[in-house]
């Protein structure tokens, strides 16, 4: 049996993956483009938290709302400045995907320059950092576990209320299901897309703000994490927000626990192969149920196998 430490680590990682995957899925549902810059949105959050901590000595948990805003603005700007003009020109999905790759590269470059400036300003390097030493236990468990779980609960309850209890939510769901029909009915699809990209950036940045409590932020963090984000979104189903919730936990848990079991057999060197697990999950999902777990008709499967 894996110890408590492994399990809590897996849970924390899953929570963060859920936040990242929800944003990716939201942007995919509304604009039909897989956002390859999602990992960089997370890094925006990490650097927001680092800046506030280094300059004003404010704890990263407190700066979560600011990270939310900073990421949201990044996401919104990405849509308005990069994707919207291209969509208006009738660009293909591949063109839009290449545009998000370009966006990712621009954000990587900005990160490098910003880290340089911040390093010069604070007098210590900002290329790599962690917040683990800032964490404190809450009720006997690591604070990051409590905080990340609270963030997930808050995010999903707000999202649920918004989508199912408000008029804007109805419009939002309508334009997700069928943008053309929604537009005919007088819904401004543009607003829903802007909202989705704001949220995509904001949620990713919150995850990025908490990520340094779990693992070190390095210049290639965005690249390393993108495979897991896509795995989480795809295994749950790219077309369903709740798919990201399920997928995040499946990928996060199996990445952590599977590599843990491998490491008990083959030694600690196996722990770095989490991404191989994520990749395997993507491939198996695409071969077995390309629309994700959420689309599988379990009743039908049950009847086929057990009666």
């Amino acid at each position: 049996m894996p110890g408590m430490e492994v399990l809590t680590g897996a849970l924390i990682y899953s929570n963060l993956l859920v936040l990242l995957a929800v944003g990716l899925t939201l942007a995919y549902i509304t604009t039909a483009v897989p956002n390859f810059a999602q990992g960089s949105f997370a890094v925006v959050g990490s650097y927001t938290a680092l800046t506030i901590y280094r300059l004003f000595n404010i704890h990263p948990y407190v700066s979560l709302p600011i990270a939310f805003l900073a990421g949201g603005i990044t996401g919104l700007a990405s849509y308005v400045l990069v994707l919207k003009p291209l969509i208006k020109r009738g660009a293909s999905v591949v063109t839009l995907m290449i545009a998000t790759l370009a966006l990712d590269l621009i954000l990587l470059g900005l990160r490098g320059i910003y880290a340089g400036y911040l390093g010069k300003l604070t007098g210590s390097s900002c290329e790599m950092f962690m917040f683990t030493y800032l964490d404190f236990p809450i009720l006997g468990v690591p604070g990051i576990l409590v905080i990340s779980t609270l963030v997930i609960i808050l995010t999903f309850s707000v999202l649920f209320t918004l989508l199912y209890k408000t008029k804007f939510g109805i419009a939002l769901r309508a334009s997700m299901e069928n943008p053309d029909l929604a537009e005919v009915m007088g819904v401004n699809v543009e607003y829903t897309r802007m909202f989705a990209w704001f949220l995509a950036g904001a949620l990713a940045a919150m995850a990025g703000c908490l990520l340094p409590f779990k693992q070190e932020i390095v210049p290639s963090t965005a690249e390393i994490i993108i495979v897991s984000i896509f795995a989480a979104s795809i295994v749950g189903g790219l077309n369903n927000i709740y798919g990201a919730l399920i997928g995040g936990y499946i990928v996060g848990m199996s990445e952590s626990l599977f590599t843990y079991y491998l490491s008990t057999i083959f030694g600690a060197g196996m722990l770095v192969y989490g991404k191989v697990v994520a990749l395997a999950i993507i491939i198996v999902t695409l071969l077995v149920a390309p629309q994700g777990i959420i689309s599988v008709d379990w009743k039908k499967l049950y009847r086929r196998w057990f009666s």
């Binding site: 039909a32 483009v33 897989p34 390859f36 990069v82 003009p85 291209l86 020109r89 660009a91 999905v93 591949v94 063109t95 995907m97 290449i98 545009a99 790759l101 370009a102 966006l103 990712d104 590269l105 621009i106 990587l108 470059g109 900005l110 990160r111 490098g112 320059i113 880290a115 340089g116 400036y117 390093g119 010069k120 210049p219 290639s220 690249e223 390393i224 993108i226 495979v227 896509f230 795995a231 795809i234 770095v272 192969y273 991404k275 191989v276 994520a278 990749l279 993507i282 491939i283 695409l286 071969l287 390309p290």
Partner: protein, 358 residues
Amino acid sequence: MIYGLILNILLWFGLYLIVSLSLNMEYGYGGIPNFGKAISVLVGAVVVGGIITRILIAIYKVKTAYGFSTATSAASNELTQAIAHNPALGFFLLISTLIIAIALGCIVGAVFILPSARLREDYLAITLLAIAETFTMVCYYNPVIIGSYYGVSVPDFLAFISGEKKYVVFTAVVLVLAFLTYLFFERLLNTPYGRLLKAMRENEDVIRVYGRDLMRVRVMTMAVGSGIAAMVGVLLSFYTLRVQANSFMITGRTLWTFYPFLIILLGGAGNNRGVVAGTLIFVTVMEVIDFYKTSIVSFLHLPVEAVWLEYILFGVMMLLILYYKPEGIIPEKPIATPPIKRAYETRKVSKRGVREEY
């Protein structure tokens, strides 16, 4: 100084031309969004760093007690010494390495697309990127494959030439290979196969209607494309005389996936002459930035490396191309099949492929 810059431009022009031409077949002709192009270059590096070095260790019976990295430098040294006296050996080393790399590249390319070959383009792109990133990470974390962080030493196939001249000869070798690649793709894509690829790009259902297997066409295309691009990994390793996995870690996707896409879109997708033009422009810009980078950084009073500025510049350049000139500098022309040629002659079709009269 300027002489060095021109030589640099020529060298990188050759390297990028090979990768871009192969990506042009996959994406420009076949419409496969290969976001994992970097994997094929990495395969070439793995062939040199992981296979050739092991063969040499076995041939020269080097003791591996002090680790793989140390053993490779001893073995590479032995062969470099031998090549210094026997140029034919160097030639044999280059050719055999290239052949192994092309073969392994073909296999990797075919396997690489298998899980997603039937899928829509967005899922296809995600899977290809995910596989390439994961493979890079495994090479980085696993020191057994190509020595990971510390890297391995590689024999010098031009050891018989000394000093400045070696660099000129190396550039010439790269340019010859790039020219051969160009001829190969020109011939290959002016066949029914090239037109099949274009049909696949325009509409996958058309391929099915005419009884072709979409999956087979995609697997074959990726195999050829990856095999050719693997040559660049070999050349890069012989150029730096070292193979290091961490050189692919952050920059791999940028240098060998994003930049080739930028080149193709800049020059004009689906057309090899456009790719040549795009490569020349891109490499010139890149090398000029590299040449003047210290003065750029001091001019702008930046406390950072110029590479970040380069990323931003090329990212913005890509967005501008996508927005203002998605067809590139040299737009694709209709394929000159005999009926179209006859139509040109009888002037029924204008040069742009639009029918003017019946």
